[in-house]
C-alpha cells in the first residue's frame, strides 16, 4: 500500500528521466522491430507508383520546425519516391516558417537523382493567402506564382510549358501540422476535382481518417509511424525509421504508467472510503 502511495506522489521529473532512458537505449542499440505498411500509407505509395513517367506531383510542405521530426521525413520520402519514378515535382509551402525546410528538401533530394531544376522540378517558395493560392493553381500556376523561390520567371521554366493548372497535375500532397490539408480538399478537390493526399502529425491524424474513408484523400501518412512506413516502402532508412523503435518502447512505458496510475488511484480511493 505504501508503494502505491509513493507512486501516487512520485515526482514528475523521475517519470521524465525514466522516459528519456527508455528513448535513448533503443536509439543507441536499435531493436529493429518490424515496420508494417498500413492501408492509408500503402494507398499513397501505390497511387504514386502507378503514375506514368513525367507525371506532375505537387508537394506542399506546409509545416515548420516545431513538427520537424514527424513531417520532414514524409516530405523527403515522397520527394524521393517521385524522383525514383521519374515524376516531375513542384514544391511550395503555405507556411512562411516552413520555407527553409521546404528549400532543403527541394535542393538536397533532386541532387541525389541528378534532376534538372526547372525541367524535372521547381520550388515556388512561400506565397501568402492560402485560398487564393490553392484556387490560383486551378487557373494558371504562372499567374499565381509569377516568380519561383529563386526569382526566376516561371514563364521561362520548361516545366511550365505543358503544366498550366490542376488538369496537368496527378496529385497534390500536403504535408502539414495544421488543418491545411483540409483546405486543399475543400478548394482544390471541391472545385477542381484534384486528387489530394496528406501527411500529417499524429495529433491531427485521427481527425483526418473520415476524409480517407470517403476517398477525399487518396492516402494518409500519420506521424512518425506513417513516415517510417513510407521510408520502408521506398527502401530508404532515415530519421523516421531510426526513431520508430523508441516510439514503440516509449508507448509500452506510457501504457504501463497509465495502468499503474489507474490501479494506484482505484486502490487509494477505496482505502479512503
Amino acid at each position: 500500500m505504501k508503494f502505491l502511495e509513493y507512486l501516487a506522489k512520485i515526482d514528475r521529473r523521475i517519470i521524465y528521466l525514466i522516459l528519456a532512458i527508455f528513448i535513448i537505449i533503443p536509439l543507441i542499440k536499435p531493436l529493429n522491430l518490424p515496420i508494417g505498411s498500413s492501408h492509408p500509407v500503402k494507398s499513397l505509395f501505390d497511387f504514386i507508383e502507378k503514375q506514368p513517367e513525367g507525371a506532375v506531383i505537387v508537394l506542399s510542405m506546409d509545416y515548420d520546425a516545431s513538427v520537424y521530426p514527424e513531417c520532414h521525413p514524409m516530405s523527403r520520402a515522397i520527394a524521393r519516391h517521385a524522383f525514383l519514378k521519374n515524376l516531375r515535382l513542384i514544391g511550395l509551402t503555405l507556411n512562411p516558417a516552413g520555407t527553409g525546410l521546404a528549400l532543403e528538401v527541394m535542393t538536397e533530394i533532386p541532387k541525389e537523382y541528378n534532376k534538372k531544376y526547372g525541367k524535372d522540378y521547381v520550388f515556388l517558395g512561400f506565397r501568402p493567402d492560402i485560398t487564393a493560392t490553392i484556387l490560383g493553381f486551378g487557373e494558371d500556376i504562372r499567374k499565381i506564382f509569377p516568380y519561383d523561390y529563386f526569382g526566376n520567371k516561371t514563364d521561362t521554366l520548361p516545366i511550365f510549358k505543358d503544366v498550366k493548372n490542376y488538369d496537368q497535375i496527378a496529385l497534390v500532397v500536403s504535408i502539414s501540422g495544421s488543418a491545411l490539408p483540409v483546405s486543399w480538399i475543400y478548394l482544390a478537390r471541391g472545385r477542381y476535382g484534384q486528387d489530394i493526399a496528406a501527411g500529417v502529425t499524429a495529433v491531427m491524424a485521427a481527425d483526418y481518417y473520415p476524409y480517407l474513408r470517403t476517398g477525399q484523400f487518396v492516402g494518409l501518412l500519420g506521424g512518425m509511424k506513417g513516415a517510417a512506413e513510407y521510408e520502408k516502402l521506398i527502401e530508404r532508412r532515415e530519421l523516421a525509421t531510426s526513431g520508430i523503435d523508441a516510439v514503440s518502447i516509449s508507448h509500452i512505458l506510457i501504457i504501463l504508467f497509465v495502468i499503474i496510475g489507474n490501479i494506484g488511484y482505484i486502490v487509494l480511493l477505496k482505502r479512503r472510503k
Binding site: R13, Y16, L19, A20, I23, I24, L27, I28, S66, V67, Y68, P69, E70, P96, A97, T99, G125, F126, R127, P128, T131, L135, P146, Y147, Y149, G151, V182, I185, Y186, L187, R189, G190, R191, T201, A202, V203, A205, A206, D207, P210, R213, T214, Q216, G222, G223, M224, K225, L239, S242, G243, A246, V247, S250, H251, I254
Partner: protein, 207 residues
C-alpha cells in the same frame, strides 16, 4: 563518439538543452532560449514576407516593371495600417470587408460540398451483405446517429433518447482515446527528433 565541430550544431544543441532544462524547473537559461526563439521567429517572418510577398508582388511589379495596376491592391493593403491612426482607423474595414467577402464567396460552395455533403453521403448504408465493408458502414451509421443525438439538447435525454446518447458517449470516448494515443505518439516523436539530433548530429554517438 564523434563530437561535431560545427558551431551552429553546438548553438542548436545548447539551446535544445536550455529548453529541456524547464523540465527540471523554470530557470534563466530556459527564459533566455525562449526569448531568443521569439525574437528570431519575428525576424525570420519579416524576412520571409519581404522576400516572398512584398518584394515579388508589390515592389518589383510596381517600381521595377511599372505595372501600375498593382497600385489598387497595394492601396488596399496600405489601408490595413490605418488602424495605427485612431482618426482614420475605420478605413481598415474596407480591406477586411473585401477579403472576407471574396474568401467566403470562393470557399463556401466547395467547403459545403466536401465538408458536409460528401461526409453525410459516407454515412449512408450500402445494401446489406455479410462483408466487412457493410459492418464498418453500420458502425459509422450508428456512431454518427448516436453522437448527433448526444448533442441534441432540445429534448431531455430520457428513455430511448437516453439509451442512444449513452451509446453516443461511448463512441465519443473511443474517439478521444484514439486522439490521445496519437497525441502521445506525436509528443514522443518530437522528443525523439530532438534526442536523435543531440546523439547523432551533436555527440555523434549514433549513426
Amino acid at each position: 563518439m564523434n563530437i561535431s565541430l560545427n558551431p551552429w550544431i553546438w548553438i542548436a544543441a545548447i539551446l535544445t538543452i536550455a529548453i529541456f532544462s524547464f523540465l527540471y524547473k523554470d530557470n534563466p537559461l530556459y527564459k533566455f532560449a525562449e526569448h531568443l526563439l521569439v525574437g528570431v521567429t519575428v525576424g525570420y517572418y519579416i524576412n520571409i514576407y519581404w522576400h516572398n510577398a512584398a518584394y515579388p508582388y508589390i515592389i518589383k511589379p510596381l517600381f521595377l516593371e511599372k505595372q501600375f495596376l498593382t497600385l489598387i491592391p497595394f492601396m488596399f493593403a496600405i489601408l490595413y495600417f490605418s488602424i495605427l491612426i485612431p482618426k482614420y482607423s475605420y478605413f481598415i474595414r474596407y480591406p477586411i470587408g473585401f477579403l472576407l467577402g471574396a474568401l467566403n464567396g470562393m470557399a463556401i460552395s466547395p467547403e459545403f460540398k466536401e465538408a458536409i455533403l460528401v461526409q453525410v453521403k459516407d454515412t449512408i448504408l450500402p445494401p446489406f451483405s455479410f462483408s466487412l465493408e457493410f459492418f464498418n458502414s453500420l458502425i459509422i451509421f450508428i456512431g454518427t446517429l448516436c453522437v448527433l443525438i448526444y448533442f441534441f439538447f432540445s429534448l431531455e435525454h430520457k428513455g430511448v433518447l437516453k439509451g442512444f446518447s449513452r451509446i453516443g458517449i461511448i463512441f465519443l470516448m473511443i474517439g478521444f482515446g484514439a486522439s490521445f494515443g496519437y497525441t502521445v505518439m506525436a509528443r514522443i516523436s518530437l522528443l525523439i527528433g530532438r534526442i536523435i539530433f543531440l546523439l547523432k548530429d551533436w555527440l555523434g554517438i549514433i549513426r
